[in-house]
């Protein structure tokens, strides 16, 4: 047994970008036919290490072996030829082409000079059946759900003959049922002799699906363990280097909920409908209210109208129905006026909406409140700076330089800018959409604490998260959105993954 070389053996990999050492002596050893989890906080160097393996970067030093063969510094073409394929976090698909066309892109099937679509579709259908990755081969990628698009990515990689599959944060965009399906697919690929490396920072996934775990921190490999012999706490400790409270096992510490009806709601949404890009309604007659000191969590698979619901409340989308904030109708108020009326908003899309990446930390910390930081026509730079210094200290934003472009900060610190800005303004209602997406464990803990704190100060918080564990850990009441409707609205005590699951998949509806 010991004579068989491991599928992957990376030794002492160093990869620098200028003075930044993304990998500083990383090690990885993956056996044949296993699902191997590569975990670590954002910026720990996981993606860099895997890009080195996939041939996208050449390591500065260190050795790489695949199937016992020295492949140090190979190219992406070499990697593909040797059966190493990477499924990226951001899909690399052409939306206007069909599934089959995307899959064969780069190795097109032809009959003479003409593309052989039928053969491609047949090949995709066959591969679909073999792997359990069900996708309609003739559908346009633009019309697929995120989960389906991801399956296309995996199919594409398998179609090119990948035996070693690297997946970068594959579940970030999936619903719980889709995640389960993905695990089944990965297990069947493994059972057919494939080897899988899973990059993630979600510990429940690691425990659920992997056989071996490699933990990276600050560019180094700090631990390698068998999944069977470890706990989420032990993994988290290795990732962060200290003990952390995990959302997974954080006891729901409910606020003393006021009697419903005893206090007037801070946010009241009545019969709210929002039209999507093609004129079809994407939010349908949503009605709910949030009391002071309450977190209402909205669970549900992404793309069921949550984005549009939040943006309508924020004033970013036209709607019908009524939204009132502390008894004030918001209908005629634009985004800025809603902010002034006491609405804070942590948007789900950090890079497009929440931050201007080329603006400095200080500038980003006033976005949306720039009209309050003026002296005549000019911006009051000294006040902006003192505002920034205060929030940087209070929210531990690193590096602590207000002049640095937001782009230069890590994902977790970028999100801290957004949270700091929205929590520092004078607000009554906070909209928090996917507030911890793509941030590391330490920052998640911090952001959760801030949301609870807002609740405890008597604010109303609308939390939208694709992460059911997060919704359950924070919310006082839980709503489920499916197909644009609020299909369930339960007190926290009645909400469990089991009770919510059927609503999230549309199998059941109440409310």
């Amino acid at each position: 047994m010991t004579d068989i070389p491991p599928a992957i053996r990376l030794r002492d990999i160093v990869k620098s970008f200028g003075p930044v050492q993304a990998n500083r002596g990383a090690e990885l050893e993956v056996a044949h036919g296993e699902i191997h989890a590569l975990v670590g906080e954002n910026g720990a160097g996981k993606s860099t290490l895997m890009r080195v393996l996939a041939g996208m970067y050449a390591p500065d030093s260190g050795t790489m072996e695949v199937e016992g063969r020295d492949v140090t510094g190979w190219s992406t073409a070499d990697a593909i030829a040797a059966g190493v394929g990477m499924v990226h976090q951001h899909f690399m698909l052409v939306p206007t082409l069909t599934v089959a066309e995307n899959v064969m892109l780069g190795s097109e099937l032809t009959r003479g000079p003409v593309l052989d679509r039928a053969a491609a579709e047949e090949a995709v259908r066959k591969l679909s059946v073999e792997t359990g990755l069900a996708v309609p081969p003739a559908a346009k990628v633009a019309d697929l759900t995120v989960g389906q698009a991801q399956r296309v990515e995996i199919l594409k990689t398998l179609y090119r003959g990948a035996k070693i599959l690297i997946l970068d944060e594959p579940t970030a965009v999936l619903s719980p049922p889709e995640v389960r399906e993905l695990w089944q697919v990965l297990q069947s690929i493994r059972d057919a002799g494939g080897t899988i490396v899973l990059i993630t920072h979600k510990l429940d996934e690691v425990i659920e699906v992997s056989e071996t775990i490699t933990v990276m921190r600050a560019g180094r490999t700090v631990a390698r363990m068998a999944t069977a012999g470890t706990t989420p706490q032990a993994i988290a400790r290795a990732m962060v280097g200290r003990d952390v409270a995990l959302a997974l096992d954080a006891e729901y510490s409910g606020a003393q909920l006021p009697e419903l009806g005893a206090v007037s709601a801070l946010l009241e949404v009545r019969d709210l409908s929002v039209a999507g890009a093609n004129g079809q309604p994407v939010v349908k007659s949503a009605t709910f209210s949030i009391a002071p000191g309450e977190i209402l969590g909205i669970a549900g698979v992404e793309g069921n109208g949550q984005t549009e619901l939040v943006e309508a409340i924020a004033g970013l989308r036209p709607y019908t129905g009524s939204i009132t904030l502390a008894s004030r109708d918001l209908a005629t108020l634009n985004v800025r006026a809603r902010g002034d009326a006491g609405l804070s908003h942590i948007p789900e899309d950090r890079h497009e909406r929440a931050l201007i990446l080329d603006y400095s930390v200080a500038e980003n910390l006033i976005l949306g409140q720039q009209h309050r930081f003026t002296r005549g026509a000019a911006l009051d730079t000294p006040r902006m700076l003192s505002h920034a210094r205060e929030l940087i200290t209070r929210y531990d934003i690193r590096p602590d330089n207000p002049a640095l472009a937001a782009r230069a900060l890590s994902g977790g610190n970028q999100q801290k800018i957004v949270v700091a800005r929205e929590m520092a303004r004078d607000f009554k209602v906070l909209l928090a959409a996917q507030p911890t997406r793509g941030v590391d464990v330490g920052a998640i803990e911090f952001i959760h604490a801030r949301l609870r704190e807002a609740r405890d100060q008597g604010k109303a918080v609308l939390l939208v998260s694709a992460d059911l564990a997060e919704v359950l850990a924070l919310s006082d009441r839980v709503a489920v959105m499916y197909g644009g409707r609020i299909v369930a609205l339960l007190p926290r005590t009645d909400a469990t993954p089991e009770t919510l699951g059927p609503y999230m998949t549309g199998a059941e509806r109440a409310a």
Partner: protein, 381 residues
């Protein structure tokens, strides 16, 4: 602005060990002054060097010595007061059209209409000039002229701005089309109503003409350089202040960088769009004063030909920064005046080619050089 107090939580203590390296942010957390200057200055220099090499080859292909041609070019421009004056005169117009295009670019808009906005500004100024009685001191007239030129250019700029904000009409198409319409309209008005018989220009304005540099120093005799230079410098400073120091500038740049984030930040993207194009047109329009008020003292058909389009090159080479635009305007003015000087040795069109090479070199080499600089320092992840 006082936020909720954050109770210190021991579990939130900063992770002290093994800080994850963050690009750019080193020990001090601040990109060094030197790095910033390197990044601003080095790429254009490399581009110029590239352009010079291509220029050498061109000159050699005409059987001339590059050294001799460049010497002639410099002698004819920066080498004497007249040539230098002409450079300043040409650069003045280019500063205005360059700033106009740059303002659009900062808002994410490509204003191709500086050509007609410049002409409209000059036309409106001349119109006002014809109405003003003679003998009013220049300093009193100047604000009126500036306002007229700004309104003229601004009106031409506001049209594509409004069409874009209201209907989503693409500003590139609209400004190009407006160039034809506005220039044709101005020519029609001039040649049917306002021209002095047998010419293509209006009568001379009688008050508020700007002093020539030649009035201050006889060495500039014959050159068109005039006090509009002061206006150009003021426009550079003003636009810099507006873009980088005011709330409106903050909002305008936000729209240019990330319209969705701007919208989220409570900024009316449509309003910023049409205001930016109107202001862009107004700046180009004021550039018309250089000719109308400073040089000929009348409006003439075609006085602005090419200056609007060259403004696009100036804005690109100057990287949409007022200081860069000043330098780029001097560069292009030098090349265009130098073309006349070297005509004896090589065709003056060679200098047009050289201008094109500068633009291409900047467009291709600037991103590349910047990438290399960042690589060396450890830039984007």
């Amino acid at each position: 602005m006082s936020g909720p107090p954050v109770t210190p939580d021991p579990t939130l203590a900063p992770v002290v060990e093994a800080p994850v390296p963050v690009p750019v942010a080193r020990a001090s957390g601040r990109p060094s002054r030197r790095a910033q200057i390197e990044e601003a200055v080095l790429p254009p220099l490399v581009a110029l060097l590239l352009a010079a090499v291509v220029g050498d080859l061109l000159i050699l292909s005409f059987g001339q010595s590059p050294g001799a041609v460049y010497r002639l070019l410099l002698d004819g421009t920066w080498g004497n007061a007249y040539g230098f004056g002409q450079v300043l005169y040409k650069a003045t117009t280019l500063v205005f059209t360059g700033l106009a295009v740059a303002l659009g670019l900062r808002a994410g808009l490509f204003n191709i209409g500086a050509e007609s906005q410049l002409a409209a500004g000059g036309f409106c100024a001349a119109l006002v000039g014809l109405l003003l009685p003679p003998g009013i001191p220049a300093l009193l007239c100047l604000p009126v002229y500036v306002l007229a030129a700004a309104l003229g250019g601004g009106a031409v700029g506001a049209v594509p701005g409004w069409l874009k904000a209201r209907f989503g009409a693409h500003e590139v198409i609209v400004t190009i089309m407006l160039n034809f319409i506005v220039l044709a309209l101005l020519n029609y008005l001039t040649s049917t109503r306002l021209h002095v018989p047998d010419t293509l220009h209006t009568a001379e304005i009688r008050s508020g003409q700007l002093a020539r540099l030649a009035d201050l120093s006889p060495a500039f005799q014959g050159s068109a350089a005039n006090m509009a230079i002061v206006l150009a410098v003021l426009a550079m400073i003003g636009l810099w202040w507006f873009l980088f120091r005011t709330r409106r500038g903050f909002e305008l740049r936000a729209v240019g960088l990330q319209p969705q984030a701007a919208e989220y930040g409570g900024i009316d993207v449509g309003a910023v769009t049409w205001r930016a194009l109107a202001l862009s047109g107004a700046i180009a329009g004021i550039g018309g004063l250089n000719y109308v008020l400073g040089y000929k003292h009348y409006y003439e058909e075609g006085f602005a030909t090419g200056a609007g389009f060259l403004g696009i090159a100036v804005a690109l080479v100057g990287r949409s920064h007022p200081l860069g635009i000043g330098l780029a305007a001097l560069l292009f003015a030098t090349l265009s005046q130098g073309g006349l000087a070297v005509n004896a040795l090589v065709p003056k069109q060679m200098v047009d080619v050289l201008q094109a090479v500068v633009i291409l070199a900047v467009a291709t080499s600037v991103p590349e050089v910047r990438r290399l600089l960042r690589m060396r320092r450890g830039g984007d992840r």
